[in-house]
Amino acid sequence: MTDIASRVPIGCSRFGVMNYLVCLKGILIREGLRYLNQRERFISSLVRPLLWLFIFAAGFRQVLGVSIIPPYQTYVLYEVYITPGLCGMILLFSGMQSSLSMVYDREMGNMRTLLVSPFPRWFLLVSKLLAGVAVSIIQVYAFLFIAWFWGVKAPPSGYLLTLPALFLSGMMLGALGMLLSSLIKQLENFAGIMNFVIFPMYFASSALYPLWRVQEASPLLYKICLLNPFTYAVELVRFAFYGQIEWTSLAVVCGFTIVFIAGAIIAYDPSRGLVIKKQEGGNN
């Protein structure tokens, strides 16, 4: 019989751990290369939070006073208060950027290359998610580096302790982006994500103002902020900066991460997926 046809025998060994790591590494490298090829993406990911820090925070410093609330043990400048929120902003935009990139890949056909890999689909999606989170964490640290020169300084250990919080928050927001990418039929529809997801999530959270101030201003908005998972991502990062764990935030972020990842895996499952339904119209 033919040599190639008999190359893979029945009951041949499945992929081992090393094969999985090779696959993960390949996806990480590809995302990294794509990121390096898009320098504008890196610059814009930094410019956005820096504008908020340099202009918005400076302007509102006198208007928005922040009293002593945990994790702060003294009065802090408004710039210090919004820095975790701006880190969250980077993760949020990056997560949505990943979803944009997945829609683009799907339209261009690159997504098929990934989806016909013999590795389990959940593993491929989680690997892609990890790659996106790794890129966004680099962006966050680049931002924190610049913010340090602007006088926004956390305890040195805080920069290290923030890493797990950034990772978890990035996973949650990246998974949300992945789930949303399955709902978007065409690239042009992505603007809707900006209006209906990114902005509401960002503004209806504790990123820009403490929740007690929101509660004073509008009890309804306060409740909305409490329902917003982004609030918990920001608080997780905020407390981690000072070496503390905010347990409620940790639980909520972990919970939503699992829900969003599961949703994305189901959405990209060929037998149940929403993605396939989106593609069906154009095929014959």
Partner: protein, 268 residues
Amino acid sequence: MGTNAELKNINDKSMPEANLPALDLASVSYAYGKRQALENVTFSIAPGRFAVLLGLNGAGKTTLFSLISHLFATRHGRIHVFGHDIDRRPGDALRRLGIVFQTRTLDLDLSVHQNLSYHASLHGIRAREANRRIHDLMQSIDMSDRLHEKARSLSGGQIRRVEIVRALLHEPSLLLLDEATVGLDIKSRATILADIRKLVEEKGISVLWATHLIDEVSHADQVIVLNQGKLVANGPVHDVVKNAGAETINEAFSRLTGIYALNAGNRL
């Protein structure tokens, strides 16, 4: 050649996988909402065969490819690749499949090498082995010198050939090519077709070549004709021609897909 019945023996380790059909479809149907794209399609391809899937645009070829490559789930019927059910054991089936899609799927912003390395990693192939295979395969198509160029700088024909190299990197046993020569000039088409036929002859790879270009069919091929989602012919070229009551495969295809009647009508 294996049949559906033989697939039941897949768990019997004594049965060589190479004796099973490279591809076996049993009563496969698929619908987009109310529109039936494929209806009760059944055929097999033996290992080492070059099979041409002929059909006009809209015949259901791409849908069939999406089902075989597990991009869509098979809701009705069963698809086996060397005995492995694509829906129940997609990993085992996909490992044996090399796929060239109708649309270009190289990342144009990455180099040829980066694109190929990425694919190798998606099949768990370690860097050293991947590099060896990439160099060998690129050399075999005389494109080693383009390895570190951006995919964007390649011509349409070169992109297609790199995509074929990519599909072969993990040494598949069955190669699926969906309209691989569409949009290419005559020379590029001939080169690609010759490359693939050489693979069948030298390495015994099985090929399912989807096209609507009748001149890509050779006498020794298995021909599968789809028309409006239905299988209207399947077999060696001379059988298909004979059964259609035609003189040539071109005429047989015209009769089977209704072009013949349309042309006759136009002449009146």
